[in-house]
Symmetry: C2
Subunit: 171 residues, 2 copies
Amino acid sequence: MVKDLYCSFWGDDMRIGALGQVTGVDPETIRYYERIGLLPTPTRRTNGYRAYGPAHLERLAFIRHCRALDMPLADVQRLLHLLDHPLDDCQDVDRLIDTHLAHVQGRLQSLQALTRQLEQLRGRCHGQHATAECGILHELVAAAQGESCVCHGGSVQAPLKDVQRSVSQTG
Amino acid sequence: MVKDLYCSFWGDDMRIGALGQVTGVDPETIRYYERIGLLPTPTRRTNGYRAYGPAHLERLAFIRHCRALDMPLADVQRLLHLLDHPLDDCQDVDRLIDTHLAHVQGRLQSLQALTRQLEQLRGRCHGQHATAECGILHELVAAAQGESCVCHGGSVQAPLKDVQRSVSQTG
DNA sequence: CCTTGACCATGTAGTGACTACAAGGTTTTT
DNA sequence: AAAAACCTTGTAGTCACTACATGGTCAAGG
């Protein structure tokens, strides 16, 4: 029986391990979501164990789905609030998704440029030799010294922050 | 004169602010690189200020160029070591770049899928209405509940970790 | 009855690559 | 002389977890 596997999954409440199994989320992550106020505090059994119901399962699944879409937890928080207070204007949701989409598309373009640069860089090294003659290292050093390179094509002073931001996490 | 701007840039040493100006790196970041052993400790002036020479400038530029290629600092560290000890085999450099390239390409594919998903999601909402009828929110909730969706097409149990790893930072 | 093992609780610290202060000293400008 | 801009150190914050330490709870096996 699945009930045996999930330890009272079919009962009226789940322990944190069962919830984790069903959603594929580490129990430590679930506790983390609770700590930062993303998941409501569950009721407790007499022994202090957290007792989760279907509502928690739904909410956690929603969070994970949004995370699979690479949304930051702050955005997920806002969406959950809109779900809880469905009287507001839908435009908030629109803007949130639009902003997030722009974010992702920006990072996508950066990564595409990055891939081209790395591929060209990779092509500089052929066969086996000492690092002293390595075309990749030479290219990297030359590029860093501001000569026109496969990556920047410009000077050292170019602001790298934009590139890095768009490549890194959403924050 | 540029000398006035950069405070002894043309002298035999630069202060941290000047180095930051020339390379476009925040002085706090430069100190951070020094702290984690990426930049060698510079000599000090009599007043305790850090005094940087051309060697530091080159090294910092190299680091930033690698970072612009989205390499983790650990990889940069290894490349710097290979530059300092150029007797080793060049294959190390090759492997490092190859691994990094594979990383970036993986993230690129994740982001492409993500963009498609978000665009489809965005298309669910038309015009102005209350969140209670918002197609985006409905889609997100439905998807989270395991119905076939524009994103997963599968169940809640799907392991999201792979997606997230490939989308996030290199680490 | 005792032990083993799996589960749960809390709290703290670590990750990467910075960023932002706080509290004080120095140099330059007004 | 005073104010602004620079420098120093150290510490703590960011994001979304992850890992660990320490201890409590519970079911099954010997």
